[in-house]
């Protein structure tokens, strides 16, 4: 698709270790009577970049939101970084502070400046002293290339800038895993690239990433695995080349033909 191919990526830098970061086994979830997630099995190794695609309503968001307990699963097991997600609040807090998340609508805190957005969690969750938290925040704001906006409020920034702040805000907690839920779907086309570039940089640094997105260019370029979901199930997963050139299931073919427009 439209992702600019001008940025060469050294895929050899993108290594995957043997260490398991996330293990989901036989996970099921219901909303009342509605069976949203059916028997999900997924193992993610450290350093993997996984793109999750699928039609609207197929349960993509619900699945990645289960990983940091924004949603509760009812059956099966989720182990993140060796900690199992149960209703034990201690485990949940531990996992949430190690897993960063970016949302479709950024969800920045509008009453705080960009800098305060970034220092809030380090100061109150990690108890980092203010000075240190600010240095950390500036470091990550420079990384996403908007240090000069630090004292503005989110409402004064463009969508692309806001999403980059949201990424910086998550990074300030120095997570080992990042979840992205359609980070570019709410953006104007000319801003999509700046956000994807930031994400590519993250991938190059070896961040473990799960990314719900329909940016197939990004998937080809960065992902080492693409997962296709439909009706609450994982229908197909494969390496990007194989997935796009040679889809196996009928539903995947249909989806790809719709989204790639031919």
């Amino acid at each position: 698709m439209s992702l600019a191919q001008d940025r060469a990526i050294d895929r050899s830098k993108l290594t995957v270790s043997d260490e398991v970061a996330i293990q989901i086994t036989n996970m099921n979830k219901w909303y009342g009577e509605f069976h949203v997630l059916r028997d999900i099995n997924l193992t993610v190794n450290r350093g993997e970049r996984i793109v999750i695609a699928g039609p609207s309503g197929s349960g993509k968001s619900t699945m990645i939101r289960c990983i940091n307990r924004l949603e509760e699963h009812q059956k099966g097991k989720i182990i993140v970084d060796g900690t199992e997600l149960t209703s034990d609040l201690k485990n949940i807090d531990k996992i949430r502070s190690e897993v960063g998340m970016c949302f479709q609508h950024f969800n920045l805190f509008p009453h705080l400046t960009i800098l305060e957005n970034c220092t809030l969690a380090p100061m109150w969750v990690r108890k980092t002293p203010k000075r240190e938290a600010e240095e950390l925040a500036m470091h990550f704001l420079e990384k996403v290339k908007i240090p000069e906006q630090a004292d503005k409020y989110p409402g004064m920034l463009s969508g692309g800038q806001q999403q980059r702040v949201a990424i910086a805000r998550s990074l300030c907690m120095q997570p080992r895993i990042m979840l992205f839920d359609e980070p570019t779907s709410a953006l104007d086309p000319e801003m999509i690239k700046e956000v994807l570039d930031t994400m590519i940089e993250l991938a190059e640094e070896g961040m473990t990433m799960l990314c719900v997105t329909h940016e197939m260019g990004f998937a080809r370029q960065v992902a080492n695995r693409v997962i296709f979901m439909d009706q609450g199930q994982i229908v197909e997963q494969n390496e990007p080349e194989e997935f796009f050139n040679n889809p196996k299931s009928e539903r995947t073919k249909l989806f790809l033909s719709q989204i790639l427009g031919h």
Partner: protein, 436 residues
Amino acid sequence: MSTTKSLSYVRKEILEQQPAPRSQVGFTRWVRENLFSGWFNSILTLVSIFVIYKVAAAALPWLLGGVWDASSLEECRAVLNERFGNTHYACWAVITERWNQLLYGFYPDTEYWRANLAFFLMLASLAPVLFDKIPRKMLYLTMAFPFLLVWLVWGGTLWGVISVAAGFVLGGVAFKLVDRYGSMALSAIAAVVVAAIWWLFISPSVVDGLNAFLPFGHLQEVQSRDLGGFMICVIIGISGIALSLPIGIVLALGRQSDLFVVKTICVGFIEFIRGVPLITLLFTASLLLNYFLPPGTAFDLTLRVIIMVTLFSSAYMAEVIRGGLAALPKGQYEAADALGLDYWKAQRLVIMPQALKISIPGIVNTFIGLFKDTTLVMFIGIYDMLGLSNAIRANSAWNGIYWELFIFIGLVFWICCFAMSRYSQWLERKLRTDHR
């Protein structure tokens, strides 16, 4: 379409900005647009000017030509007759003559300085809460103020209020100690139990002992029934305002709680209190509570009224704040959760600052309502300004004087409420950071 040969067009130079036409700016434009924009509007404007003129012509001489110095209505009328030949003028003398009573009620006049000092301290301790430019150190005065207020207004030794304050400190210490081990709920219970044991069982004898040996900072004691006037309005109003906001927040959060018991209690409380007239609660406070309390407990009337007024407006406050909470997008909760903030931190740092900001107009509305409702205490025998106006009329010197007193009382309330309103508008503007 067919008339143009080509649709192609390229602009060669960028146009400079030009000033707006004269008729689009300034006073003339405002007058034309707002007062004389059409024949109907013009007629309305002229009629309004006529009505305003008529009212002013009738009222201003009455207001401004009045007598400020007389000791009774008769004397005042005599002066007016002498001056104008009729009595169609105000007798403001009732205000000057009864000024102290209207302000302090039946407070002993040698002790007025205490009320004045308390009022001044109130303003000083409100300042850091209202304006964040004021040094934060002033907040210590704010914390001490409730105790200073009680000591200054009701008198007695300082030991009484110190012991009440000590109860809070002990509760806080208990909270901190238990907090290390377990849950919030457990620590809260520990704090309440420790404080209650101190207040009910230990503190009374300690205070008596200290009073006997070392009557430290003793001021002449004043009974609640001697309080009145503007002073009692301010005491009840400010206490109600300061207490109803936090209680309202807790109730609003409780109403959203996942815990069935907490939720039911909060909903039940809010719906009950909102469904009952305030005057009923006040009568309950003044009469019924005595039956329920153990005999011999002297439970101060003012305190009872403050509790009732607070409960009443905290129910309204809870609903106002619930509106603010409902207006927040779900994404704010999710972002706070995803960052690892726990419930209380998320509420304090992310949710409440935004929800309260949205609710400012409703909150101030409730404050203003509460402040004006303090006049209802006249029905349970407390002499607030309205109650005093009746008492003043009951005196033969001022029998028959209405307008002057009511206008004065109305003006006092209007100034207070208008100040609150202006402050809230200023605060809203200051906190507007979303630039939508």
